[in-house]
């Protein structure tokens, strides 16, 4: 592939990424926080956990964590598969 094409495309892509970062709302001042306020307010009464992050990881978004555990399991299975010994 043409090196100049790749370099030019890369520069434009990087510029757009930085443009997006600049166009986002200011750092430290989230625009919309209904969902996170809910988590901070109700993680104790609903889940009985002091740690709101753990409450999200294992309760509100527990299904994601199941997927995440699956990813880890899949990767370990994959590594075992790739590094296994096959007599051929």
């Amino acid at each position: 592939m043409n090196r100049w094409l790749a370099t030019g495309a890369f520069c434009i892509a990087a510029a757009f990424l930085i443009l997006g970062a600049v166009a986002l709302r200011p750092f430290g001042q989230p625009a919309r926080t209904e969902m996170d306020d809910y988590f901070n307010r109700y993680s104790q009464p609903e889940v009985a956990a002091n740690n709101a992050v753990t409450a999200i990881v294992f309760d509100y978004r527990g299904y994601d964590t199941l997927g995440e555990a699956t990813v880890l399991f899949t990767a370990v299975t994959g590594v075992a598969l790739i590094l296994r010994r096959v007599r051929k």
Partner: protein, 109 residues
């Protein structure tokens, strides 16, 4: 019942059963023509053996790539360019990903 057998395409319709009926008709016609042919060639003689360009062929197999050899030969430069495009170098592939990213960015924004 009529609706489940055919697809309405907006300008017409496509009915496989109708097509099958037509195909069957054409097959019957072909069979009819074939059955009127000559039957008196001698079985078991050299009339049954395969010939290639008038020569008696020992191995009458035609290689699969010869089916449209001329077509591929004529397009050789184009096809070779396409093959070189699939270079097998992973960094090139990532480069093409960045190119498509830029195309999409320029188109969307």
């Amino acid at each position: 019942m009529e609706e489940t057998l055919k697809i309405i395409t907006g300008q017409g319709f496509w009915s496989p059963l109708l097509w099958l009926a037509a195909a069957l008709g054409i097959l019957l016609l072909a069979f009819f023509l074939w059955s009127r042919g000559r039957r008196e060639y001698k079985r078991g003689t050299e009339q049954e053996l395969p010939f290639l360009s008038g020569e008696r062929a020992e191995d009458p197999r035609v290689g699969a790539s010869h089916l449209y050899w001329g077509f591929v030969e004529a397009l050789k430069p184009f096809l070779n360019g396409l093959r070189d495009w699939h270079s097998g170098v992973i960094t090139d592939y990532v480069g093409w990903f960045v190119v498509i990213l830029v195309v999409v960015l320029l188109l969307v924004l």
